[in-house]
């Protein structure tokens, strides 16, 4: 069955042409093409956000606080006692009422949420929502995809349809245009290296290590061909990619290069 499925997929991809059937309109609503809808949705969301902010600012009651990180990460204390670390360029707006705590955000942020069972803490990022009572987790937006990493406690992460419950060590992504998040198998072990300044590995497959480093630095880490199947234990500072490559080379007696 798997084989058949892959053959069908191969066949479809070989002949695929975007918009080939656009002249055939289907009647069922579930087949409505998604892209234009999203374009409008984004515009509407932006408009709605602007309006909500405006209303909050004018009315007494729930208070709105805005935070923005410029060139370096900043840590801020929220009025409810939670703390947030924002990566460069990230922005959040926090509002709080008797019913709950709401955050709208852009970019990457690490949340340490003060426990308050009566007022759930909710983060809206793009088309996703994360809801918690008290935990440590990270939300990262990248090219329209939203990634959530959980470090402590439990998190409910949902798209427009379904949600997943995440526990420590788990990572999940809501892809742009998708209705439900997916859980990522074998996530990178150091999702918050940008905060801790350290990559920590314990018998981590070298492939995963190089993948994480490439992703983090936006450079390509490659190992010489004799490195297949090796794994790595150790800690490395996030400061200098070149010296990490040297350290790994020395430890495993292989050659790791950065480009």
């Amino acid at each position: 069955m798997q084989e058949n499925m892959d053959r069908m997929l191969g066949f479809v991809l070989k002949h695929y042409r975007q918009g080939a059937f656009d002249d055939v309109k289907k009647t069922e609503s579930k087949n409505v093409r998604r892209f234009p809808v999203w374009k409008y949705a984004a515009a509407v969301t932006a408009a709605a956000a602007a309006v909500i902010l405006f209303v909050f600012l004018l009315r007494p009651g729930p208070s709105v606080s805005e935070y923005l990180a410029a060139n370096s990460p900043i840590q801020v204390e929220l009025p409810d006692g939670s703390s947030v670390t924002l990566s460069p360029g990230a922005r959040i707006s926090y509002s709080d009422s008797k019913a709950g705590r709401d955050v709208e955000m852009e970019g990457t942020a690490l949340f340490k949420v003060a426990r308050d069972e009566s007022r759930p803490f909710r983060v809206d990022a793009g088309e996703s929502a994360v809801e918690v009572l008290g935990t440590v987790f990270q939300v990262k937006q990248s090219d329209g995809d939203v990634f959530v990493d959980v470090l402590e406690g439990k998190v409910l992460f949902s798209g427009s349809e379904d949600g997943v419950v995440l526990t420590p060590g788990m990572e999940s992504v809501l892809q742009k245009g998708a209705a439900s998040p997916e859980i990522i198998d074998n996530p990178f072990p150091n999702p918050i290296a940008w905060v801790t300044g350290v990559f920590k590995y314990e018998s981590t497959p070298l492939k995963t290590v190089l993948g994480e480093l490439s992703d983090y630095f936006g450079k390509e880490f490659t190992a010489s061909s004799d490195a297949g199947g090796r794994s790595l234990t150790g800690s490395f500072s996030t400061e200098d990619p070149e010296s990490i490559a040297e350290a790994i080379s020395a430890a495993l007696e292989i050659r790791v290069t950065v480009k």
Binding site: N4, V12, R17, A20, F35, D143, G177, L210, G218
Partner: protein, 164 residues
């Protein structure tokens, strides 16, 4: 058959008939033309039909084989990109391939582009990385995720179809 009945057949079956024809002809434009002709004939001839779906599949098959003959091709059997398959198999697959096609349609555009450069156009990860100014790992990662999500879609679909 009324024209609105034909129109709803068209909406329902046009894509899967094209994919079916594609198994014979291996050319998307020719396949679309053939299916279009079948519907035109249906409108003009207005024959008595008891099973429209079987009728449409039959007439698409006949036209495909005529076309292959006129091009003096040796091959008269449908195929996928690996080997010959049976006509029945081609019919069955065409229904599921429509869903896969639509799943590809709804992939995030950047990810779809990387996937197609690799699987359709045959570029290596390193070539795509260079072309797009991305790291090879990012390319590999994006393509892997795209294939995973298509597989997941397909799995749902399979379990649905086989439960019936």
């Amino acid at each position: 058959m009324t024209s609105s009945e034909i129109e709803s057949l068209y909406k329902q079956y046009f894509r899967q008939l094209c994919l079916y024809a594609l198994h014979y002809l291996e050319d998307l434009d020719e396949s679309k033309d053939i299916v279009q002709e079948c519907f035109s004939a249906l409108i003009k001839g207005n024959p008595e039909i008891s099973n429209p779906k079987a009728y449409l599949y039959n007439s698409v098959r006949n036209r495909c084989i005529d076309l292959l003959r006129s091009k003096k091709k040796e091959r008269m059997a449908p195929m996928d990109d690996l080997s010959y398959i049976s006509d029945e198999e081609a019919q069955l697959r065409s229904e599921m391939e429509v869903q896969l096609w639509e799943a590809v349609d709804s992939l995030p555009p950047k990810r779809r582009e990387l996937l197609l450069l690799n699987k359709r156009d045959g570029l290596k990860y390193s070539e795509i990385a260079q072309l797009k100014g991305l790291s090879e790992n990012t390319v590999r990662n994006q393509i892997f995720r795209a294939v995973e999500s298509l597989r997941k879609n397909a799995k749902k679909l399979f379990s649905f179809l086989f439960c019936l």
